[in-house]
């Protein structure tokens, strides 16, 4: 059964903490939402309730990291990126402390909490911070591998965690290929195709797969490239997609400024100029509503991705 990414995150953290006594968790009174409750139940002495005070929480985590701990700082993505931005930049990133910042309920699909709780700019903020690695996993299987990988990596990481269940995108080997293994900085092709490439990050890759199905009905073979690491981004995979398929559509659960679309565009203009369209939140704040309604209203549904692909193809004449 497919689990929500936050479930996979919460359970994997407990597994890893059994092996690694240095893992500690800091929470800003959102443990039941972010699923670090599982960690608290298993390792109470390593769980630090910091209250609704995210700025101090980031600094405390940095201090713990100086002592050799591997702190996971868990709060909603909006607070991790906006409220505590200066602490993330200075006490974590500039100091290169080994802090793992977990931004839960990322993007517009954030549990019907409306604009104040929809992180539309967290990736842009984090990507612009030197030394920060940014990861936006696509599903529960990948999340479990990502949590392990970022513990193995020594340095600051921003991890986006989505709240709800989305279709699984990680290749499981059923097509005869190798089962997927996440590697920091590497993209993975989840659908082959040569007419156009849909690049997704986070839960939007599942929307790209659905879009590829829609396009297939029109006789268009769309490649789907999943890009879980937004920084450092997989330059090689993006260049190959541009050279082999000619056109690119990015799809992200984020403002079209500063996130995946920007990262891909930066690579293309420097290495392999190609026709491109960005699907994502179009420079606005969100609102309440169900996930499907939000994706539809804000132009992020599979249908929107498919239409963007068609316009890229049309522009290519």
């Amino acid at each position: 059964m497919i689990k929500a990414p936050r479930e996979a995150f919460g359970h994997t953290l407990v597994e890893l903490a059994r092996e690694n006594p240095d893992i500690v968790v800091l929470d800003a009174d959102l443990a039941s939402s972010t699923r670090v409750t599982y960690f608290k139940e298993a390792f109470l002495e390593r769980f630090f309730q910091m209250g609704v005070a995210e700025q101090n929480m980031m600094g405390v985590a940095a201090g713990m990291a100086l002592m050799g701990k591997v702190p996971f700082v868990s709060t909603f993505a909006v607070f991790a990126s906006r409220r505590a931005c200066d602490q993330v930049a200075i006490s974590v990133a500039h100091c290169r402390t080994n802090v793992k910042i977990v931004g839960a309920y990322s993007g517009i699909v954030s549990g019907n909490n409306g604009a104040t709780h929809q992180a539309v700019e967290d990736v842009g903020i984090m990507r612009a911070i030197p030394h920060m690695v940014v990861v936006d996993p696509g599903d529960d299987v990948e999340m479990a591998q990502v949590v392990r990988a970022i513990v193995a990596y020594d340095g600051p990481v921003y991890l986006r965690v989505t709240r709800d269940v989305w279709p699984r995108v990680s290749p499981d080997g059923s097509d005869g290929g190798q089962p997927y293994e996440f590697a920091l900085g590497k993209g993975v092709q989840v659908r082959s195709g040569s007419d156009v490439t849909l690049i997704g990050s986070g839960m939007m890759t599942s929307q790209c797969v659905e879009a590829a199905d829609l396009l297939a009905r029109l006789g268009i073979a769309a490649r789907v490239l999943h890009m879980p690491t937004l920084k450092p981004v997989d330059v090689e995979a993006i260049v190959a997609a541009a050279e082999e398929t000619g056109g690119i559509v990015t799809a992200e659960n984020h403002n079209i400024y500063g996130g995946l679309g920007s990262a891909v565009a930066e690579v293309l203009v420097e290495h392999a100029p190609a026709r491109m369209k960005r699907v994502g939140i179009r420079d606005c704040y969100g609102e309440c509503g169900g996930n499907a309604d939000l994706l539809c209203k804000y132009g992020m549904s599979p249908q929107h991705i498919a239409e963007a692909a068609q316009s890229v193809l049309a522009a290519g004449g």
Partner: protein, 281 residues
């Protein structure tokens, strides 16, 4: 509390005097840095590094060392002067302060300077980091103590109070904060800019043990630091009444000298005030 010997007091006061000489020369020659707050903190830092803290300049990363966090990172010139006097750095290096390619940034960088635990300069952050060190040390039964110096203007930052409530909530007693209460900030006095009074009441109401001292009286500083370490079950703050620009006649109590280096003539006056000239400091 045992009285310090007259010789020990004299040794510490002489050290602090040399520290102040380094400070005025460093900021004047580099045309950078913050003389006012570096002078007000000089006695406190000297007491910590020369009498109270267990540190070893040969082993700046020694696991059991006491930790010091300069949360008021703009006091870096004072910290570097103390680290140089204590043997963590060469005094020659002070000449590079604030210049391109120097390890001595105007706000201290932990990756560049031995003895600097965490990079600071964005006010309010150091106290949180010091608290994190103290909490982690408790998990590991660490035997050392954590010290943190905050500025009085820094008390205007909300993060300071987030840290204050958290330290009390966790009954953190391996952390001592010292407040450099010189009552002057960048653009004026505290009561002009944003008053923090009644500061002892505020910290006490946050659950801290509060000790109030004259931050230029070596015996009082050391008594306070040693008694703070004995307090069990709650964090302790020493509110040290200080004078901004202490020791330099024309700087004392003046916000103009928060971040302005003295010129050559002013440096000569400062040296005369401090008795630096001809002593090789």
């Amino acid at each position: 509390m045992a009285s310090l010997s007259r010789q020990e007091i004299h040794r510490l006061e002489e050290t602090a005097r040399r520290v102040r000489c380094h400070v005025v020369r460093t900021v004047s020659e580099s045309r950078a840095g913050h003389p006012g707050g570096s002078l007000s903190e000089a006695d406190i830092l000297t007491a910590l590094y020369f009498h109270v803290m267990r540190v070893d300049p040969e082993r700046p990363d020694w696991a059991d060392r006491d930790r010091f966090v300069l949360s008021k990172g703009h006091g870096a010139a004072g910290l570097y002067a103390v680290l140089a006097e204590r043997g963590f750095l060469s005094t020659d290096l002070l000449k590079t302060f604030g210049r391109i390619d120097s390890t001595l940034q105007v706000h201290p960088d932990m990756h560049m300077v031995p003895g600097v635990e965490i990079s600071t300069g964005a006010l309010g952050q150091g106290i949180s980091v010091a608290l994190g060190i103290a909490l982690a040390a408790r998990l590991d039964d660490g035997a050392f103590h954590v010290y943190c110096l905050i500025g009085d203007g820094e008390n205007q930052e909300g993060e300071v109070w987030e840290a204050a409530q958290t330290a009390a909530h966790y009954s953190v007693d391996n952390l001592t904060v010292v407040l450099d209460y010189n009552r002057v900030q960048l653009f004026g006095t505290l009561d002009e800019i944003m008053d923090i009074a009644p500061i002892t009441d505020k910290w006490r109401s946050f659950g801290w043990h509060v000790i109030e001292i004259d931050g230029h009286d070596m015996q009082q500083i050391i008594d306070a630091l040693e008694s703070a370490k004995q307090i069990e079950g709650k964090p302790c703050i020493i509110v040290a009444h200080t004078v901004k620009g202490k020791g330099v006649s024309y700087m004392e109590g003046k916000s103009a000298w928060h971040g302005k280096p003295p010129d050559a003539e002013q440096l000569a006056q400062a040296w005369a005030d401090l008795g630096c000239a001809g002593r090789g400091s």
